[in-house]
């Protein structure tokens, strides 16, 4: 096996601790099913390998290359950095099916070593990255690039609907090839991608209760379905937490008094001149612990510096309120009221 091709030093923005939306894919012939996160914050497809030695793999479905008649050996190593460790694996090529779509000869990673207990608990087996190619650690075309190259999608567009409540059906939907008018109301507001890696856009400002409090001269944000919360620079987020009355716990989370939700300020993100307002109902995550309801702030501090300045991350807390459209044809992101 050639030399280990380690992932780029830039730490991936994986925080799978809070990931909640998963879908099914199939690899190989006959089909082998896997549950994956469709992640616009990365560009690699990987699933556990049957050769995996980690404890984390024991509890997940693993790819059995020797059982697939469409498998093509590759053998090169790949590595992906995580906040909590390092994933190592071997590259492979096989037929991928997502929904009714088939991508032939899809390059993907079979993980042989997975870091720590993050994955032991995970309900998902792997990750399917939907960012731009230059974000990929694994050689070959990312999945959506392969689908576009093989002309298996109607348009070079995909879109996400994520429901905030467990009771609604569907709880979420990835649409490959276009948008679904039934999943949003009003116009789609478009923003040009500023840097093609993440789905990175320019954010005009962030206002709390109408007062433009953060990013007053504009800043960069990425739209990331693989991140659960809304993340920003530590100094801004600590101020924001205070403005919404959130208090830190000893493990870095921020708690809010559930009875005060109705009196908490709105937080408005201004993108492309359009205001996207989240009320406390939107940005507070409720969790039952026994018979007690806990309310956690949906904002978290993540310091990612890009050449264009510190990055904010618009994760699921934002994307459950706004239907998101990712257009590779015109390199733009669209938002509409979900």
């Amino acid at each position: 096996t050639p030399s280990l091709r380690l992932g780029r030093s830039s730490e991936k923005i994986y925080n799978f601790m809070d990931a909640q939306y998963f879908g099914e894919i199939m690899l190989g012939s006959p089909d082998q099913n896997f549950s994956v996160i469709f992640d616009t914050g990365s560009s690699d497809l990987w699933v556990p390998s049957s050769y995996c030695v980690s404890e984390a793999c024991a509890l997940h479905r693993r790819f059995r290359a020797f059982e697939s008649s469409s498998f093509h050996h590759d053998g090169r190593m790949f590595g992906i950095h995580y906040g909590s460790g390092h994933l190592l694996g071997v590259m492979a090529r096989d037929t991928l099916k997502v929904g009714g779509l088939t991508a032939l000869n899809q390059e993907f990673g079979e993980s042989v070593y997975e870091p720590g207990a993050t994955f032991v608990m995970a309900k998902f087996d792997g990750v399917l990255g939907m960012g731009y190619p230059n974000l990929a650690e694994i050689l070959g075309n990312p999945v959506f690039d392969n689908m576009m190259a093989q002309k298996s999608v109607e348009e070079p567009v995909f879109s996400f609907y994520l429901s905030r409540t467990r009771s609604s059906y569907p709880e979420g939907e990835l649409l490959l090839g276009g948008t679904d008018e039934a999943m949003f109301t009003g116009p789609i507001n478009w923003l040009p991608v500023t840097v093609k890696g993440y789905w990175q856009i320019k954010m005009d400002s962030v206002a709390v209760q109408g007062v433009s409090s953060f990013c007053p001269r504009g800043c960069q944000a990425i739209v990331d379905t693989g991140t659960s919360l809304i993340a920003g620079p530590t100094s801004d987020i600590l101020s924001l937490q205070q403005l919404i009355g959130a208090t830190p716990t000893n493990i870095g989370e921020f708690l809010i008094d559930c009875v005060r939700l109705s009196s908490l300020p709105h937080v408005t993100f201004v993108l492309g001149g359009t205001e996207y307002t989240l009320t406390a109902e939107h940005y507070v995550r409720k969790e039952m612990l026994g018979d007690k309801e806990l309310c956690f702030s949906g904002f978290q501090a993540v310091d990612i510096v890009s050449p264009e300045g510190p990055l904010w991350i618009l994760g699921d807390v934002f994307l459950t309120e706004f239907y998101s459209v990712f257009d590779r044809g015109q390199d733009r992101v669209g938002f509409a009221a979900a």
């Binding site: 601790m17 939306y21 879908g23 099914e24 490959l176 716990t249 493990i251």
Partner: protein
């Protein structure tokens, strides 16, 4: 083609660990940076 991929929403790892009373130990063992997040506001900016 226009293809729908249904997404299911599941409790996060964090929620599962909290419900099992294991979150504190897990984070102590796996997220050492949690400490400086807790006390980030005590340090001078930057």
């Amino acid at each position: 083609a226009l293809v729908r991929v249904p997404l299911r929403r599941r409790p996060s790892i964090r929620s599962q660990l909290r419900a099992d009373g294991l979150l504190l130990d897990f984070l102590k063992d796996h997220r050492p940076d949690m400490f400086n997040r807790r006390y980030a506001q005590c340090f001078p900016p930057g």
